[in-house]
């Protein structure tokens, strides 16, 4: 797979949408991995009686499917080796449920060089199958070349 270089990206550039289904199987493994066994995420009987009216998924699970490499892969290219994650920002705006079909829309919000390092700001907005925006992430990797 060809590498995507810093110069290949421009401000405002759009990546192809990613569509991802968050299955119960993935969520269960994810919750064990992050060691968060909140019944609101796992127990239907418990969650049904809460104001959430059913099981939800932790919003930071965006990290499963909305990553720098998954976004780049949608273009049919990969990141050069040595990418460093400098900063990340998130806003959570909608409840995520098991089996939601999520669409990730990503643009290059900014790119700049500072102290000889190449920074790219990738803004990803995530929408569920009803068109509700469940969250936004801004990932700022340092691009190796």
């Amino acid at each position: 797979m060809k590498e995507l270089l810093f110069d290949d990206m421009s401000k405002g550039m759009k990546f192809p949408d990613i569509v991802y289904t968050l299955t119960t199987e993935t969520i269960e493994k994810y919750l064990e991995a992050i060691d968060d066994l909140n019944p609101l995420y796992l127990d239907d009987d418990y969650a049904d009686k809460t104001p959430y009216e059913g099981v939800i998924v932790p919003p930071i699970s965006m990290g499963i499917y909305s990553t720098v490499s998954s976004v780049i892969k949608a273009l049919g290219v990969k990141t050069p080796p040595g990418l460093i994650h400098a900063q990340q920002r998130f806003e959570f705006t909608g409840l995520v449920r098991p089996d939601d079909i999520l669409t990730v829309k990503t643009i290059v919000e900014d790119k700049f060089e500072k102290k000889g390092r190449k920074f790219v700001v990738l803004k990803s907005e995530v929408f569920n199958q009803k068109g509700v925006k469940i969250g936004t992430s801004w990932l700022t990797p340092i691009w190796p070349k």
Binding site: A33, P59, G63, T67, E91
Partner: protein, 142 residues
Amino acid sequence: MDRYIDFEELSIGEELTPLIKKMTQEKINKYVSTAEDYNPIHVDIEFAKKTPFKGTIAPGYQYMAYISELMARDFGRGWYLGGKLELRLVKIVRPGDLLTTRAKVVDKKEEEGEKIVVCEVRVANQDNEDVIVGTAEARCIN
């Protein structure tokens, strides 16, 4: 049932109850098996030994989740719907690291009728070195 933080009772400088968790290779393997972001540095022990890290490291997103867990515990819906998080990863995490996640209230404000709490958040290892630093903001709506 769930008891969330009360805006009026919270004071600036207050520490929320920390979360303590141990990172293990088993948890890393499980995390990587779910994520759309395979990198041998997390799971291939022989490969990782030959890198400058000299061993496997945990994916940043895996322990960023601890901060989200702490905020969800104390703010509930005000985190799920309106949470904001800004983080920098400052040090690597290895299997066996014991991680403490902390949040300290640094601001309380009312904006457009919303009660908002701003926390300074950090995850530190057993040597009290920060591995993540940042800020988290939640609404008080419960």
